[in-house]
Subunit: 586 residues, 2 copies
């Protein structure tokens, strides 16, 4: 029998720590009224109502932590007891929050359990704890921060105090996580994005709608062009579709229902539109404007196209969570027999793309297939069998590190979801390949077989970078702003030492610029030290110093951001070196 997430030892440790946190808080703040204390992805928290009396501050956390460690040392055992609703209400007579939960459980006819920690302390709880507090490593957790949180998440309710803790199975894991977080803070793409003038936001434009500065657009264009170069040689064609469409398009596709109130609605004088939540329906229109035959299949469209989701403004941030999302989208229409080869081609593109970004270490792929509840899914067993098989065969043929995950398929077909780790070990779900039996049906798509009959194609959705905005955010943090040469907004800065070196410096700069190198010349009235410090601040990969010697020799003295001094070289040699490195995307 497989384990549920709640049955894992890490879950039990975190859940037990939530109870221990409450015990410790009550020890120091006896007036605190507990509400709920769940587990999070990185630990646990407890929400408490301190009324208008003394509340804990960050300075109190070490003291509370210390008390928690003492409780752990006492090795108190966890013990459950089933009670009636009336008994539960009596136990929590002075706690309106717990009584509200108890009333709800009673209404839903659910079991009500009390968990004891040792003999004296108890809490209303559904369980999954360690046997005793002693099982927890006392140094594998840390109280993290304090925040306000509304009871049951509603602004209409009381504001409670939430105490967060980090918790892992071992001290090493805790420390790794804390270091990762500290490193992540330094790499925050919002801070680096502003420092390196990659993007900006404006209250006049609105939340979740970043604007790309020239530096950001250079990075975006390089990524888009690279994506296109990978697709072009595999027989994809570019298309272009408008950002709005009538609701009828999304009623036909089913997206109107699926996205519901995440849709942005557009009102004109005569017509009402929707800002597109997906590009697929538009691409279906382009396909069905043709009458393709088996000889034309597969038909492959590529378009970096923007979709819109009305996310809550509180959830938006920088480039990672935006309301206008440019997917490097693509759809291909193929016969059932072509699924495997096409998926293999896409897998090849994904591997090449992520190798270039140094992200293939520690990646894994979820082969998301149906579960036993087959009525949830569209399409015949035969086609599901072919598609799941084709995805798995492609995964095997390409030596992918994949796990078969049942029940994670979409209702319209199975998929491969790719998770990649960034430079500090954080996992990001980025690329995806999805088989779709639904849209061809809904849009009544067909091609003519070699027997002259009409047949439905299969649609394969694929995104390599996922969302280009989010991918750019991830890349800023992955590289901490120090982009590889081919991606760098400025690739090299020419640094004349004094005024008399300006003319030659500008000449070198022009030669590089004309050769499509993103070169700049810093001819400010400043010393070389200051100029180099500026270049370092902008994380420019190369700079070329120019003084008397360089002019006399027709050379530059090249330095690299991390490799230090490269040496003196002829301008042609420099050009060749940069060109080669850019071409190889190193």
């Amino acid at each position: 029998m497989s384990q549920t997430p709640e049955e894992s030892s890490l879950y039990k440790i975190r859940h037990s720590l939530a109870h221990i946190l409450l015990m410790a808080v009550k020890h120091h703040f006896p007036h605190a009224i507990p509400t709920i204390g769940p587990v999070t992805d990185t630990g646990f928290y407890y929400d408490l109502d301190f009324k208008d009396e003394l509340k804990p501050s960050l300075d109190d956390l070490p003291k509370i932590e210390e008390t928690m460690r003492e409780i752990i040392k006492r090795n108190l055992s966890f013990r459950s007891e089933e009670v009636t609703a009336d008994q539960a209400r009596a136990l929590f007579e002075f706690n309106p929050y717990k009584k509200e939960i108890i009333n709800d459980l009673e209404k839903e006819g659910k079991e009500i359990t009390i968990y004891y920690t040792g003999d004296d302390f108890f809490d209303l709880c559904v369980g999954n704890h360690t046997e005793s507090t002693g099982e927890i490593q006392a140094d594998s957790f840390k109280l993290d921060k304090i925040a306000g949180a509304y009871w049951r998440g509603s602004e209409k309710n009381t504001m409670l105090t939430r105490i967060y803790g980090l918790a892992f199975e071992t001290r090493e894991e805790l420390n790794t996580y804390i270091e990762q977080q500290e490193e992540a803070k330094k790499r925050d793409h919002r801070i680096i994005g502003a420092q390196l003038k990659i993007f900006t936001t404006s209250p006049l434009v609105g939340p979740g709608l970043p604007l790309l500065q020239p530096n950001g657009m250079t990075i975006r264009k390089e990524i888009e062009d690279y994506l296109w170069s990978l697709h072009k040689k595999k027989g994809y064609s570019r298309v272009w579709t408008p950002h709005i469409a009538k609701e009828a398009l999304y009623v036909t596709s089913g997206h109107a229902e699926k996205f519901g109130d995440e849709l942005f609605r557009v009102q004109g004088k005569e017509d009402a539109f929707i800002l597109k939540p997906m590009n697929c329906p538009h691409h279906m229109q382009i396909f069905s404007d043709n009458q393709f035959s088996y000889k034309d299949m597969p038909v492959r469209y590529f378009e970096p196209a923007t979709v819109y989701r009305d996310e809550k403004s509180g959830q938006l941030g920088g480039l990672l969570r935006v309301r206008a999302i440019t997917q490097d989208d693509g759809h291909l229409f193929c016969t059932k027999d072509q699924i495997q080869e096409e998926v293999s081609t896409i897998v090849g593109i994904i591997k090449e793309f992520y190798s270039t970004f140094n992200m293939m270490d520690g990646y894994w792929v979820s082969l998301s297939v149906r579960d036993d509840n087959k009525s949830k899914y569209l399409g015949s067993d035969e086609v599901w069998g072919i598609a799941e098989g084709a995805l798995e065969d492609a995964a095997k043929a390409n030596g992918l590190n994949y796990k078969r995950v049942e029940g994670e398929a979409t209702f319209y077909g199975p998929k491969l979801d790719f998770m990649f780790k960034d430079a500090i070990g954080r996992q990001w779900q980025l690329a995806t390949i999805q088989c779709d039996f639904n849209l061809p049906e809904r849009f009544d798509l067909n091609y003519i077989t070699n027997e002259g009959k009409k047949e439905r194609p299969v649609v394969i959705h694929r995104a390599i970078s996922g969302s280009i905005e989010r991918f750019m955010g991830v890349m800023i943090e992955h590289f901490a702003g120090a982009f590889p040469l081919w991606l760098s907004p400025t690739q090299i800065t020419i640094l004349p030492i004094t005024d008399k070196h300006h003319e030659y410096a500008h000449k070198v700069n022009s030669i590089l610029f004309d050769a499509d190198i993103r070169s700049e010349c810093d001819d400010a009235k400043e010393g070389l030290g200051k100029k180099i410090s500026n270049v370092r601040k902008m994380k420019t990969p190369y700079w070329a110093v120019i003084g008397d010697n360089e002019i006399a020799n027709g050379t530059v003295t090249l330095e690299h951001r991390t490799e230090g001094k490269v040496g003196e070289m002829k301008v042609e040699e420099l050009l060749e070196r940069l060109r080669e490195e850019i071409k190889n995307k190193k």
Copy 2:
């Protein structure tokens, strides 16, 4: 004293013909009730109410025309008479339409005049006629078509019958226009666009929202890339901005007021947005996120970006009139002293661009400046003087064929509007360069001068192709679908004569494809004649025939769409020829 358009002889001829048309119609259809008969860009029309009685059909037009010619021959003189409203109402006692007009004129306190043609016929009219009908050349007009039209353009009113006439000063001009129209019909970009699979529309997506097929996207990308290559070498940077923004942005810019009900409004759960009607306000946000100094100026942004206008669906058509308009937009921010040089640079780009498209013959430029009513315009006399002077100097320095047109400036600054003629002589307003003193003020933009003070930059708006959708529509008609090699979706088709030539044909095709030539191979089971006819239908510039000889010699036999057989050549020679021609954009 300058002449108003209504005082031109062509206007008088057209206006007189409207009266003559009415006389002729009344002769054949005495029950017709006349309403209005104005002048158009190409002639005139008259709207009449035939009640439920006999209406003229297309077959009646020659007969009516004949009667008109007789009236012209009779050389009747036009004569005006001022009347009171009551007198006018008495004259048109049985005509509710004319009475409505008379009532309006009376309310507005305007003069009411009756125009007589000869002694018996009269019409309510403000005038501007030839002295007599004999001044009109009887063969310089033609009745064109009949259509329905609502009284005063409102669906709530009676549907009238509109009879259109074409009219020019001479028969030659009329014939030229008719031939141009016939040629234009053959070149209709909607028909060619569908035949060559350039774009499509879908009722599910909505009116005015074309989708580009792969062929269309190839053309668009070539145009966009060409535009960028022209800008890049002049120091422009690409930026990227979202398609929506909060209304506050357009209140600040003034566009909310200016575009009023042409705006598409977007409703989200928390925020309301507007689909952008202009890109400028977004670019102002990108500029003001920096603190630039005089050393950074000019700052130049380029973005092919989509704006939206809620045009009436009846006015939409193909690519020429759309609701999502991608401008090859750009804004540059400069000091007053830099205007002339920057305008010169843009003029240079425009000349290079339109020379490439063979559209510099017969172009002209409107230097649109202020008129005497200076209170209509924003900005000091000094800055207007500098800007108008800079535009005119740039026009002169670049040898532009320009006319100074007073009163055609926008309220925010003077501009140069470029009119180009297409292959059949139709004039299109395409490129524009506009100085703007308004937006820098509204967005409180500044740069630091060399004295350390804040100073307002001037903004220059520029668009080279104008709208890329419209430009593509114009280009389809200009080239009648036979695009030059560099723009052609398919540049060459390889035609193996029989099956045994397929392998070599595919090899040649691969060599070309890998060299970035848009090559296709037609290996269908069809004869060479049919294959060539297909290539001709798609207006592909080149095709290369491959048979036994070509395989033996390692060659192809090249033919060109208009130049015919080019001859047998080595594949490398073919590649070189195509590359050179593409590079030169011939």
